[in-house]
Amino acid sequence: MLKPLKIEPTHKTPRVYLEPETNTFELGGRSIPEDSVGFYKPILEWIDAYSESPNPKTEFKFELEYFNTSSSKNILELLKKLEAIFNKGNEVHITWYYDEDDEDMEETGEDYKALLQVPLELVMKAHY
């Protein structure tokens, strides 16, 4: 089985938890790395390897706080890879969380939704 990929968050980069065994697929926090291509490369490679034999159902959570435009291209690439898994007949569900105060993150989620065929659900996180 594919080894899980765990990247702890920093002030510039998001947390990435990818663990097929527990069905955990998460990316969250801030994404403003200096070299976004370099940061996302191992993640995209991991998804490539995962797509060889994915779980029957993949539930991927995005919980981003803010990210720069160079990260946005890499995030699209990641979403496209998930779409490819979906197109091969596997169940894939993406949840895009945004803070109730963050209409920009909601809008970004809508942008991605418009560009993809894979099920992407926008979910607002309310403050309690």
Binding site: K12, N68, D104, E107
Partner: protein, 192 residues
């Protein structure tokens, strides 16, 4: 007693510099000011400081989020790429100002450019400023899906500023000499 700017010439010693600068910042409601090289590490620190400054300034969470999002892109614009050898020291230094106004926050950046870069940048900004929200959205999605190119990325950042601030991007080019132009960009985030 507060001295006005004109009196500052009579002050000597350390006050001569710090006091007029302080009064200037105070009277203009500048809540943040930085001049120097903008690196990725700096962006992280600026955001941390701004988090506190916006809180002190009683900005709502909604407003703060927007200011953050706009700042990230404005800073990206004056970001100096450490890998690039072609950029001179002068070009790598920039200014960042954040001004608290009654109806919102003004994020402003300034940096030197080669004169030859002005026209393309001006065209890009004019093109974006002519678009309404819907057109900006279409253009953003188009560039997002186009093959990665540094130029496209820079446009993407500008569209992002326009979309998130929901305002036209104000800009100015000031020719410095036969080689350089000083470029100022201003994005306003309306308080909400």
């Amino acid at each position: 007693m507060i001295l006005n700017n004109n009196d500052s010439s009579r002050i000597s010693g350390p006050l001569q510099f710090s006091y007029p600068c302080f009064i200037d910042m105070l009277s203009n409601n500048l809540i943040f000011m930085y001049r120097g090289v903008v690196t990725s590490d700096l962006v992280t620190h600026v955001l941390q400081i701004m988090e506190e400054r916006l809180e002190e300034d009683k900005a709502s969470k909604k407003t703060s989020k927007k200011v953050f999002n706009v700042m990230v892109e404005c800073l990206r614009n004056v970001y100096s790429d450490e890998m690039s050898q072609e950029i001179s020291e002068l070009e790598s230094t920039a200014i960042l100002l954040v001004k608290s106004e009654e109806d919102g926050y003004l994020v402003s950046t300034g940096n030197y450019l080669k004169n030859s870069e002005v026209e393309m940048l001006k065209n890009r900004l004019d093109k974006i400023n002519q678009m309404d929200g819907e057109k900006l959205k279409v253009y953003y999605q188009e560039l997002l899906t186009s093959p990665i190119a540094e130029k496209g990325l820079s446009s993407l950042g500008m569209i992002d500023i326009a979309r998130k601030s929901k305002q036209k991007i104000a800009y100015q080019f000031q020719t410095v000499n036969e080689f350089f132009t000083f470029f100022t960009l201003e994005a306003k985030v309306i308080r909400r």
